[in-house]
Symmetry: C2
Subunit: 357 residues, 2 copies
């Protein structure tokens, strides 16, 4: 199953520069979001949620709960999307995304996103969509062939609608998602050329020095359906078991032996999640010269993740028990988004000359 969000939320910090990058960003319109196809997990936390909590203080951030995009490969199993909308909202609020600072909206509640998609679809060829490297590899991964749903092949157009509807300047992405922004900016240039003025503005990626957080076995992609993710409401026991099962250095047979940290998932997670980078550096040295066992490093990681998740889990449990509140939050954000997106839609319609009524 595709767990690709509209931003690469399953990415992890390679270095600790991710968050400091975010802190330098201010006064920008930012659009980000997630496909509503499952609970969010640690990959999302480190790849995007943490950054969003920071970005919301100095920027105008909109987060899209992308239910319609979730349908593009779940057309016949829509409950996978419907059942996860409030899960995603609860995850947002539990990690500290503040609806008073960030507009959290539901994609299907904002008609302008569909309307813009329809206009843009006239400016993008099927060949161009098929050349999109991100979509190409996803199609291959799914063995869609020509039976690919029309909504799936065209979802980069829908993403362009999402981004431009909010006149976003910055879109947090991993480099695997850059082709999506190229497609968006191509559309922007075409609309501007039609109108012979700047109707829409091009967006820029907010790239962090990040790479995808590996799954516990170090081999596959993190995926809820593969059962190899740690969700944001994971119990202490689940966390402990997941860490125990993590891939380390298969040649590190005794504590005394020097161990490898490359490809060692425990250290990748420590890099991503441990608050004390100096301490992690010391652990790495120790592990590499020998004398530090996997049991010990796994215990450190378990403690670290349990400490991180414990308060998030508590808040999340309280939130998910109050669905009325979650709906209220989503309703309010969606109403704001409806109003905000109307301007871009009006401008695009005018560019096509369709502003008669």
């Amino acid at each position: 199953m595709r767990d690709t969000p509209i931003t690469p939320t399953t990415t992890a910090a390679k270095a600790t520069t991710t968050t400091s990058d975010s802190k330098d960003v201010r006064d920008q319109k930012i659009l980000t979001g997630d496909r509503a196809t499952g609970q969010l997990h640690l990959g999302h936390y480190v790849g995007s949620l943490k950054q969003r909590v920071e970005l919301q203080h100095l920027n105008q951030q909109t987060i899209l709960v992308a239910d319609m995009q979730g349908l593009t490969d779940n057309g016949n199993t829509p409950s996978k999307v419907a059942d996860n909308i409030l899960n995603v909202v609860a995850d947002y609020l539990a990690v500290g995304i503040d609806p008073a600072k960030t507009t959290i909206c539901l994609q299907s509640g904002v008609p302008a996103l569909s309307e813009l998609t329809m206009y843009y679809a006239n400016l993008v060829s099927i060949a161009r969509l098929e050349r999109n490297p991100t979509v190409k590899s996803e199609i291959q991964g799914k063995n869609f062939g020509r039976s690919i749903p029309a909504g799936f092949l065209t979802y980069p157009i829908s993403q362009a609608a999402d981004i431009t509807a909010f006149q976003a300047q910055l879109v947090p992405v991993g480099d695997d998602q850059l082709p999506m922004l190229e497609q968006t900016n191509e559309i922007v240039r075409k609309v501007n050329a039609l109108a012979n003025r700047e109707v829409l503005r091009e967006c820029q990626p907010l790239l962090s020095n990040i790479s995808r957080l590996p799954s516990a076995d170090g081999k596959s992609k993190m995926s809820k359906s593969l059962g190899n993710v740690i969700t944001l409401d994971a119990s202490d026991k689940t966390i402990s078991q997941a860490v125990k099962a993590m891939y380390t250095d298969p040649n590190h047979l005794t504590v005394d032996q020097p161990g490898q940290i490359e490809g060692n998932v425990v250290f990748t997670y420590l890099d991503a999640f441990h608050p004390d980078a100096d301490y992690v550096a010391q652990l790495k040295d120790h592990y590499q010269r020998g004398g530090l066992g996997d049991g010990k490093t796994k215990q450190i990681l378990t403690d670290c993740l349990q400490t991180l998740i414990s308060p998030i889990r508590a808040r999340r449990q309280a939130l998910i028990a109050d669905k009325g509140y979650l709906i209220e939050v989503l309703k309010k954000g969606t109403e704001q988004a409806k109003q905000e997106s109307q301007q871009a839609l009006d401008n695009v319609k005018a560019a096509f000359g369709l502003n008669l009524l």
Copy 2:
């Protein structure tokens, strides 16, 4: 250029049963419309407009001015669409379509049409779209190849949205458009299967015993861009010239000779437009046995068309001079259509489980 409307408006009566068919239809929701890519002409008049004037008395008829569909092959020349919206509305009113009886609405003014298209796009594969015989032949005709705009390949999905948004039971079409209704009904069945109840109803074609009205040369399709159409505001002189240029029987060299009526465009038009079928039958007999010249038959057709068009032209000229009124009519109809389509959208969203807000 594609002049295919969302109903086959460039069709002509082969027999006089077209209108009597329409008179038997009652208490039906009917959806029809035209791409707003040019003034309507005699092909539209006999193929659909005349029928609509009759249908509106006993049915709930919605006519869509399909500006967004017009963009699907005019993405880079949108003024061709924008400039023709009011032309089409003026044509409707000039022939007697009554906005008090028929909802005349602008496609781009009804967001539910775009939204439904997005949902349905997840239920239709690219392969299925490419197999659509109507689209296939249009793609070939345009030499699109893979550079076909995404909006064009997917326009059958958008048509399904148009039809189902108004819960249309009957869609007037020529048999070349039947694949469009098949596509619509496939989507209807998929949505109903998702919800396990009848969310949408299948539509039926309102087929008349009609064939496409030929252009004056008898060879090509009628097309505004080919300059071989008689528009509904054609002057007496234009009509007279167009009829003079019509293809008859090339072997009918003297008046005395017997003439052929098969492929004789003058007789095809007389069949389609002359109010007195018995008289036309007598003319045919006379022509076939010899003694009736093309000058005479052309004069009869010219008189007939001038009589038909003269009052339409006068009303049309008055209407097009009052753009404010045309906009008012379109605005009111579009507002009605917005309200009416909301129900189908709500139902479809519920079928996908996306009725949270």
